[in-house]
Structures are given as structure tokens and as C-alpha cells.
Symmetry: C2
Subunit: 232 residues, 2 copies
């Protein structure tokens, strides 16, 4: 039990007074911190994907030794948790909670949610294996409040929340899995057209090829809200 607590770590304390400049670059980098680690992790994930994130590369990116990360972070899993949640930060628009247009509000929230995840495609792949961080919970909370104001009641609220969440998750994952490299995409298309006689309906609908993902998402959301609306 030398220098670390159980759940969180050393967690650099608020600066006692001096800005803490060590022997290293005293004008460049603002010293190692949890925030910088998480930001670098997001960059690295954006650049190289889930498998591209290693503790050594992450340390390089913040100009530190690999083991220095472990003062600020429990382990690699925690890095994933933090990066994922940081990408899902949500800024509630100022007029929220007053408008009568609950449907418009829900739409905006979910579009923003989806856009945030598509901006970082690895987030879709990561989410199924991670716990729900505070930013995800906040988004669910605000969505729940809006639906509640719209008159959706107890059991229906539960179903509505999960259904909308499912729509966003499913759509994001689907979309992200189609954003592979061009090589993979070309190979996949060739593989599909080869089997087109076995899957004629899929072929005819061009479901997998030149899909309008944004439109499909919005239209599906409309159907869902249409089904939800009578219940309120």
C-alpha cells in the first residue's frame, strides 16, 4: 500500500500554489494529467482504432514513460472507460425544458448522440463492453425528463427510453461497421454481389450498398415515435 487508493488513483491534487514545473520541458507541455491522458487516448483511438491503443504508444503521445500512466489510471480498461465517456459529453441547449415541442427535442438529442459516436467510430465497438459512464447516464436522464414532460408514464417511460436508446446504439453500430477501409469495403461488396442470388431481397433493396444512413436513422426514429405517441 504505497501510494495508491483502491478505486481512483493518486489523482493529482489541486495545485498547492506553484504551477508545478519539473525538469522536463518547462514551457511546452503542461505536465502529465488525467485530462491530457484521456485526450491523447481519444486522439490515438481516432487515428489507429481500438487495437491501436497500447499503453506504450499512449505514453509516447503524452511524452511520458509507460508506467507513469498508472499513477493516474487504474489500468488499460479504465482508459477505455474514460475515453468513451469523454466523447459522449453533452451540452444541454439553454432553452431546454421549456419548449412544447417534445418530439423535436427528442430528435435533437438523439441526432446529437448519434453524431457524437459517429465522430469516433471506435466508440460503437467499445460501448458493449464498458459500463455506463456519467455522461451516458446524463443523456438518458435528460431524455427521460423530456419524455416525462410529454406525458409518458411509468412503464411506458421505461420502454420508450430503452427503445430509443436501442435505436441509437443499433444504428451507430451498424453504421460504424460499414466504415471500414476501402479495401475491406470493396471486398465485402464483391462477396455480396457474388451471393446475390441467395439473398435477392437484400440485393434488390440495396440494403448494404449505397444506403442513406442519416435518412434511414431519422425515418426509423419517426416510426418509433409514431408508435410511442399514442401511449402518452
Amino acid at each position: 500500500m504505497a501510494g495508491k487508493a483502491s478505486g481512483a488513483r493518486g489523482k493529482r491534487p489541486q495545485r498547492p500554489g506553484a504551477p508545478r514545473l519539473s525538469a522536463e520541458a518547462q514551457s511546452g507541455e503542461p505536465a502529465l494529467s488525467l485530462e491530457r491522458i484521456v485526450a491523447a487516448a481519444v486522439e490515438l483511438l481516432d487515428a489507429e482504432g481500438v487495437d491501436g491503443l497500447t499503453m506504450r504508444k499512449l505514453a509516447d503521445r503524452v511524452g511520458a514513460g509507460a508506467m507513469s500512466l498508472y499513477w493516474h489510471v487504474d489500468n488499460k480498461e479504465a482508459v477505455f472507460d474514460l475515453a468513451l465517456d469523454s466523447v459522449l459529453e453533452y451540452r444541454e441547449p439553454p432553452q431546454a425544458g421549456e419548449s412544447q415541442d417534445w418530439r423535436g427535442e427528442v430528435l435533437h438529442m438523439l441526432e446529437d448522440w448519434r453524431a457524437s459516436m459517429l465522430r469516433h467510430p471506435w466508440s460503437a465497438a467499445l460501448l458493449p463492453r464498458r459500463a455506463l459512464g456519467p455522461n451516458i447516464l446524463l443523456r438518458l436522464e435528460l431524455l427521460g425528463r423530456t419524455l416525462s414532460r410529454a406525458g409518458v408514464a411509468d412503464a411506458d417511460l421505461n420502454v420508450a427510453l430503452w427503445s430509443l436508446w436501442n435505436h441509437v446504439m443499433g444504428a451507430t453500430i451498424t453504421r460504424a461497421s460499414f466504415e471500414r477501409s476501402d479495401d475491406d469495403l470493396a471486398a465485402a461488396q464483391q462477396r455480396l454481389t457474388g451471393l446475390s442470388e441467395r439473398y435477392p431481397t437484400i440485393e434488390r433493396s440495396r440494403l448494404l450498398l449505397d444506403n442513406d444512413w442519416d435518412g434511414t436513422f431519422r425515418d426509423g426514429l419517426d416510426f418509433l415515435l409514431d408508435g410511442l405517441a399514442p401511449k402518452r
Copy 2:
């Protein structure tokens, strides 16, 4: 270019005539084969999860050396692909395609889909990162045919297919992410109740605690189909 093709591998040929018994256990194991490898991979994933699958452990389980697997399989990623698709095999019920009850058919298909994935929780975590295998495509195809017979037209068919798919994927992933070990679950609950004043709506709805997942899935599906029905 010694002994392997590019896409698929050596792929043991159809037995020339003799049952191929080598020096090893001549009565026990039916010799190494792609089928046995995939079956063992599913077992291992069921038992130890995604991170628990290593090529050495997999080889142990089929009683072979680690490198022997690579004759039958390109690499570890291919093992994941094969295991995932094998778990999603679908047996079409015999009377399919004749009933008038398209809604019942859709419900049955999607319940089965979800059940198959929940039986192997790792499949939900794996799916976002893997390509769509033939069994997934078959399920989509059959779903598309049913909707088509129900009168869902071009653009609507596309939206309907993806929306239903999204519902299954989202619900499965959500559900699977709540099936952690009891330790994790207890910790999560404590963490949540601690923050309950920040997320009152979520708290009140008991969204995350004792949810009736099966019911929520079915009810959400009903809402979705309610929204879809007028369009046919």
C-alpha cells in the same frame, strides 16, 4: 507459397476414402477439423469471454498444437468471425412463408435472434467489430421477405429492416452489458444509488435495476411495429 491459398485455407478435402486415423488417439477424437475448432471456440468464449480466447487455449481444447490451428484458419480474427456466425445459425420453421400473420412471424424471428445472442453474451460485444456473416445475412433476407409479403414497399422496406435490426442489436447489447459478474453488478448499483440525486428520473423509473428485459424488448417491438404498420 508453400501450402496455403489466399482467402480460405487448406480446408481438409473430402475424405478420399479412409477415415484418416493418425498416430494419436485413434478411437477418441475425430481428428482436427474446422468444425471442431469453431465448436471449441464457442465453448471457450462461453466459458471465459472474449478476452479468454487465446490460440493456445483453443488448441489445448481440441488437443492440438497451437500452430496446427493455422492450417484451418487464417488468423484469430477469422476464429471470431466463424464463432459469431456459427452461433447465429437459423432454422427456418417449416410453415414459414405461407401464414397471413406477418406480425407474428416477425416477432418470432426477432425473438429467436435475440435469444440466440443472449445465449452467448460475447456475441453482442463481438458483432460491432466483425463483418456480416452468411447467417446474419440469411436472417436479414428472411425478415425482408416477410415484410415484403406484408406489403412494405421499397424505401419503407429499407427503413423497416434497419429499424428492426437496430432494435435487436441495441436490446441485446444493452442486456448483455448488464450481465456482468455479481461483484460488478453490486458495485454498479452502489455507484448508481450514490448518484441518484443527479439522475432522479432514471432512479424513479428503476431503469437500470430490476428491469423486465424480455417485456421491454417485446413492448418496444410492438411500438415499432405499430409505427411501421400504417405504411404498408
